[in-house]
Each structure stands twice: as structure tokens, then as C-alpha cells.
Amino acid sequence: MAGSILGNRVLRKEDPKFLTSGGKYIEDLNDEPLFAGALHVTYVRSTVAHAKIARIDLSECRSAPGVVAVFTAQDLGLEEEPATYNPNAKRAHLAIGKVRWVGELVAAVVTERADQGEDAIERAIVEYEVLEPLIDLEQSMTSTTHIYEGCGSNIVMGTVEMGMPDNTGDELFKDCEVVIKGRFINQRVAPCPLEARGSAAVWVDGRLHQWISTQHAQGVRAEVVKANKIDAEKVRIITPDVGGGFGAKISAYSEELLLGKIAKRVGKPVRWRETRSESMVGLGHGRAQLQYVTLGGTRAGKVTAYQLNAIQDSGGWVDVGTVLAPFMTRPMAQGVYDIEKVECRTTSVVTNTTPIVAYRGAGRPEATAAIERAMDLFAAEIGKDPAEVRRMNLIPKFSEPHKTKIGHTYDVGDYSAALDKAMAVAKYSEARAEQAERRKRGDKVQLGIGVSVYVEVTGGVDPMQEHAKINVLPNGRAVVFTGTSPHGQGHVTSWAMIASSETGISIEDIDVVWGDTDLVPTGGGTMGSRSLQQGGAAVQKVSIEIVDQARRLAAQLLEANEIDVVLDKSKGVFHVAGTPSISKSWSEIAASADAKAGLTQEGMFVANSATFPFGAHIAIVEVDTETGKVKHRRHIACDDAGRVVNPLTLDGQIHGGIAQGTAQALLEEFRYDGDGNPITTNFADYTFISAVELPSIEVVHMETPTFVNPLGAKGIGESGTIGSTPAVQSAVIDALLPLGVRHIDMPTTPERIWSAISTASA
């Protein structure tokens, strides 16, 4: 796009505010007039994993200082409601009769000040009759104790039950010369946006205004409508600045969905803000998949059959995590490889743990980790280099849709080019030579090299469309309204760049509005790496349309034929071709259309399909074989997201994704004891990755535009996570191959590494 601002490194318009006075997050809205006199809600949470509730006594709670009201499910008239993804599972927003995970809500306490709520809930008495805690996935699968009795089983969803083909077992591998098997745990992690959740609810003349830290205001509106049993026009959702989401803030939670009812009952505005310790058990978790893989092929290295049996932990509720395995992991099971026979079966199982939701990558990191680890086991088994074995099996470059064996259709791909680029920057052969030297010398600190090649799916959740509106005001400024919902991704800058590249209005003169359902009633929010390819494409579409509209009006003002009028984007003015001295500005044209409202265009961009970003990551780590300590030395990432709008924010997304992937590979795991007590419920116990555990990241650019949208853009929000996780995990294991270690589950902590070395050498 010669001459266009698109593709240039443009600094973010949103930054000065964040850097000087800080963002305006939900807890910072002290000047909001509607919050005057607001009361605070604090929740009494279950302290046991699985139990019948014998008695709730809130009398002491009620008499605590500052307490205005206390509510149980009964007090609020709550009823159990069916889960979206399995109607046989039913629960209410405050527990009725039973609790199913530590942290589930039991009662609400309303106080004058927030700190009084924290004191008051200490006085709540809840008597439990403890039931068998089901924490282990496979134990829960076969248990006769059912977490949701209505389901008649703890299995709440499965591909076979939905009519998809079952796995055929070892029969699939009967012609293979080499077969490897693995059992991998893709562990449970906590998303940990740095801003925990918060919300506020205010009734004004029978209409509910709710502020919430979310990724999708329009989706939340539908949930609030349902929870309060009111019409959609009676609800307004407002999104303040949001301090990170990573998938976990897509849907509203019980804590937030109760606020409307509570505000109505107490007749005052109410606010709720969770502590980090609450957030660690209240905000949904991610991953939590147990994988059985089998992969077979020839001794020369050609893979011919792959089978994945994934068991997805749903946690204590049938939430989004339940559907990620069948609808995200399964379709991407085959990855980047040309394999003759591929099978994948998934089973989602409830346990007495925090529910699983979407977390950066949401089902695709699991698919990639499974096949990438399997490829490494295969390479080790036949004694070949893992990069070489991958190269032998990659789907060749394609620019027309490619249908995979599992039944997905990828848009464009050039996987071997991505691998080549990453290997070149990594100086792969030199790294292998250094590794060989260290092995030969028997160094205490060994070098490990991990390779992963991946493809993922972005913008693939129905409806694959996004809404945008552009308004050029009589003062010449433009306002872009978007149904996406930035919380760090930089849409204010990128959407302004897109509108500017079509209209010639400078990005300084373009504002971006989102997240208020009165201003933007239609929108799909920001999730699944969809924003640029659908939201950005919608902004481009309406920007082109408003230029056409302005050209018609300019022709009238210039008394010229419309086809003779051109837009000089460098100045943002329209003139007759060849006569630039007489022109009409956006301001003049907008004022001529409507002296107050200016010009407006709105519309929907509809994508015909998802897009399939791909790439290759190489991680080089040092592993101290005596202590198990890992040093992540280099991380090379070649991620192809199609055409790039702003390389500044593109790189930022890649860096952040890699940090979260590395965190899962090396450090992070949300853990429970055998009774279902969470034991990593704050940032002192949960090993949130810091700057010390990461290297600077070597980003290798590659652009293969997609034909799915006019921008040529694919998603980039999750690629880094998907590519990095198996690369880092494999690097750790690669360092230990000569010691006989073939696999270590994530996180590859020093303890696990040390144990694996001890076991292998025993």
C-alpha cells in the first residue's frame, strides 16, 4: 500500500494518558455522578470443593458494622438455570443446596464501605456436608458421584456423543514402522489480567446501567438482560479502561450478573471489586487438558497416522472451556502436517475446581502442544533432527484453500518458509554444534533447542462479522465507532490509521469509541484474534463508503461531475482532478450535509471464513542438570499474520503471547490439593512470570496476506502463545535427551527436571 500510513510503525495515541495520569479503570471512576452513595457488595464464597449446604446463618453477618443487607439465593429469588452448552447441568448465581468448587458464591453482603464487607463476611456461618471431591479428571470421568446430578455423569460433552467419528485405537497404526505414544498434561493456568474484575450497577428510571471490566460489552448486555429478566433496551453496558482480559473477561460472571438484582433490592447503586485472592478462584482458568497421543510413520521420518484423545477439564461449571476441546482443539489437531490418517476424540468432564474458560489461544495451544510433542517423540525415536522431521512432513505451500484430513479449510500457508526463516535467524546449525560440544564435554549446564511449527485459527467464531460506524463532524474531526473492545491491543491507533488511510483525515483528528452499548449497540468484542480482520475491515469498509458519499457532496459543492472529483489524501481535501487549487475540506463537506451531525456511514463487514495464521518458533535454553534450573536464552519467533497494519503493536502482541506461552512451559500451574483446596491463590504462590525469566525476543517478520478480508490481515493476538509453549517445553526436554529423558509435563520446573533426570538415570 504505497503512500498509505498502513504498515508503518505508528506510536499509540492512547499512551500519554496511561503514562501520565493512568487509565480510568472501573475502580478509578470516582467522578461518575451515578455512583454517588454507592454501596459495596462482598461475596461469601464456598470454602470446600464439593458439599451439600446444610445451613447458612448470616445473622452475625447482618449485625456487623456497616452492613446494609445480606442475601442468599432464596432471598433474591434465584433459581437454577441450565448451562448453555449442556442443559442438564443447572446452577444458580448463588449456590442452592450444593457447592461445587472452592470460591463458588454462597451469599452476598452489602455494606456502606468495601472494607466493612471484608470484615462482615468473616462472620458468615455456612455448614457443609462434605461430598467426595473430584479433582482428578480421569477419576471424575468414572466416578459414580455426580457433580451435576441431572447429567447422570460427569462427562458433559464429547465429540462421539455429538456424532463425530470415534478414534479407532491401534488399528490406525497397523501399517506404521514406528509408533510412539504419549500422555501429556496441558496444565491448568490462571489468566491473571493485572486488573482483577470489577463492576458497578445503577438503576436510573427503570433502566439498568452497568459498568464492567470486560472484553465484550454487547455479549455482557445479553447476559445481564437474561439475569435481570428485562428487555434489552432497559440495559446499558459501559466498558471503562480494562486492565487485560486474555479471554477470561469475555463473558460476565455470577459476581457481576447479581449486581443488578442487588442494586434493585437495596435501592442504591452498588459496586463490586474482587481481591486478587478472590480473582484466582473466581475468574475462570485456562487450558486443563489431558492428552493421549499416538503418532506413527516410517523409519525414514514420514508421518502417516496421528491420533489424539483429549480429555478437557471443564471445572465446576459447563462454561466455555467445555466447548474449546471439540470446536477448537479437534479441528486444529493435525496442525501444519500432511498426514494421511488423523483422528481426534475429545471428552469434556466436570470437576470440583474453578470453571475453565477461554485463555489466550483457547484450545489451539493445546492442539499444537499435543502434535508438536508427538513429533519430537517420533524424531527422538527414529534418531533424526526434530526440525528435519517436521520439514519432511509439512503441508506444502498453498495459496488456495487447503482442506485438512480432520475437515478444516486453511486459507493460505507457507510453513516451510516460516521454519526456514526462524532457523536462519536462530543459526540453528551453530546452536546444534554448541549443543554437541556441551554434550561431548559432559557439561553440567546443557543446551536445549526446541522447535515448533504451528497453524492456528482466528476470527473463526460465528457470527464472523463486525460492525463499524464513522462520523465526520462539521469541525473536520472523525469519530469511529467499533464493536471490538480494546484492552491493550491499541485499536484507538490502528482503527484511526485505517480510517486515515482511506479518508486522509489525520490520525490525530480521529477518535475511537467502543464498549458503550448505547453508542455501539452491535459488536462482537475482542477475542479469538478477530479484531483487526473483522473490526478493522469494517472500519475500512465504512471509511471507503464515507469517502464515496463525501465525493458526491463535493461534486455538488464544486459544481463538477462526481467522476472528476478526487480525494487528495495527503491534505484530506476533495478537488476536481487537475485543479487542486479549488478544493473542499472534510469540514466543509460535513457541514454542508448536516450542520450539526455531519456525515455518517455505518455497516457490517462479513467474513466468509476464518483465517489461519502460522509460524515457527525456536527456543534455546540452558538447563542445569544438577539443579534443574532453566535459563531461557533465546526465543526466535516467525509469526505470519498476513498484512501488517502497525508493526509496533504487532510485535507487542507477539512478545506478550510468547511470555504467556513461556510461563506455561516453565513456571505456571494452578494447583489443588487432594481435597480440592486451591493452593496457588495469590501472586506469592502462583508463579507469574517476571522479566527475569524471559530473554529479549527475536521477532522475524513474514507476511502472507489472506484473501478473506480486503486488509489481507489475519489475527496475531494468540499466535505467540501457541507457537512458544511447545518450543520452550521441547527445548528443556531436548537438553536432557542424552540422559534418557523423553518427556516432562509442563511446567518444567526445576523439581520436575531434577526428578526426570533421576528417574531416567536410575
Binding site: 503514562l19 501520565t20 493512568g22 493485572l194 486492565g243 487485560g244 495469590n682 517476571s690 522479566a691
Partner: protein, 152 residues
């Protein structure tokens, strides 16, 4: 208890509960909401401010302990509408995304350079270990600090 604390050059007199944390005093009493709270175990550093010139986590200090001290928050870092070089470096190097850790991160980074004006990359990483960020992978934060130090 009576406290007198100078914040961003202005002296404030207040009457606080003994258990009031400095961060709550700054946010709720003074209304300076740039300083954020990201955890409840003094792990994340989102609340980092300067007290008598030193970067400290304001969730780890009681308001009464800050009596008589000189506090600078993110709101006091820019002078006469001109951003501090560290703020400029964060902007130019995309050292922030969602912005939640940013005020604390910037204050910690300024504190780091006060102690070590020309740090190596490794020293920056170690120096910022107590400040968590979930968005940037720290890459551009480290780059920002090195840029502000003129190291790169």
C-alpha cells in the same frame, strides 16, 4: 491518626485509620487513581511510588508510616506538561499495552535508574523483577528503560 504527607509537591493533612495502607490513602483520600492495586501479596508492583526519592510498593506501607515523607506518584512525574524521559521512552518503545501495570512500572524504572544510571539488560530485568506485566512480555519495557538510560 493524624498524618502529614507531601504528595507531588503538595502537603496533605489527614486523619486515617491505623490500618490504612498508603496506596489507599493515595487513591481514595487524595483521589490520585493512577497508582493501581494488582494483588494482595505485595508481589505485582502496580502500586509502586516514590517515597523520599526511593521506589516503594505503596501497598506495603501504612499511611501512618509515610507521615512526614515526600511522595511522588505517576501524576507527579511529568513537569509542566512535559513527560519525564522514562514516560517518553515507554511511549516510543511501546512499553505498555493495557496500561494497568504502567504507572508502577514507570516509577520502578525511574527508581532503578536513580540507583544505576547505566544498567545492562540483565540488571534491568533483575531490577524490575518485583513489577509484573501480563501484556508486554517485558521485552519493550526493558527496551524502554535501556532507551531512557541511553544504554541502547
Amino acid at each position: 491518626m493524624k498524618v502529614s504527607i507531601t504528595v507531588n509537591g503538595k502537603e496533605h493533612h489527614g486523619d486515617v485509620e491505623p490500618r490504612t495502607l498508603l496506596v489507599h490513602y493515595i487513591r481514595e483520600v487524595l483521589g490520585l487513581t493512577g497508582t493501581n492495586v494488582g494483588c494482595d501479596s505485595s508481589s505485582c508492583g502496580a502500586c509502586t511510588i516514590h517515597m523520599n526519592g526511593e521506589a516503594v510498593k505503596s501497598c506495603t506501607i501504612l499511611a501512618v508510616q509515610a507521615d512526614g515523607s515526600n511522595v511522588t506518584t505517576i501524576e507527579g512525574l511529568a513537569k509542566d506538561g512535559v513527560m519525564h524521559p522514562m514516560q517518553t521512552a515507554f511511549m516510543e518503545n511501546h512499553g505498555l499495552q493495557c496500561g494497568y501495570c504502567t504507572p508502577g512500572m514507570v516509577m520502578a524504572a525511574v527508581g532503578l535508574l536513580n540507583e544505576n544510571p547505566k544498567p545492562t539488560e540483565e540488571q534491568v530485568r533483575v531490577g524490575l523483577e518485583g513489577n509484573l506485566c501480563r501484556c508486554t512480555g517485558y521485552h519493550n519495557i526493558v527496551k524502554s528503560v535501556l532507551a531512557a538510560a541511553g544504554s541502547k
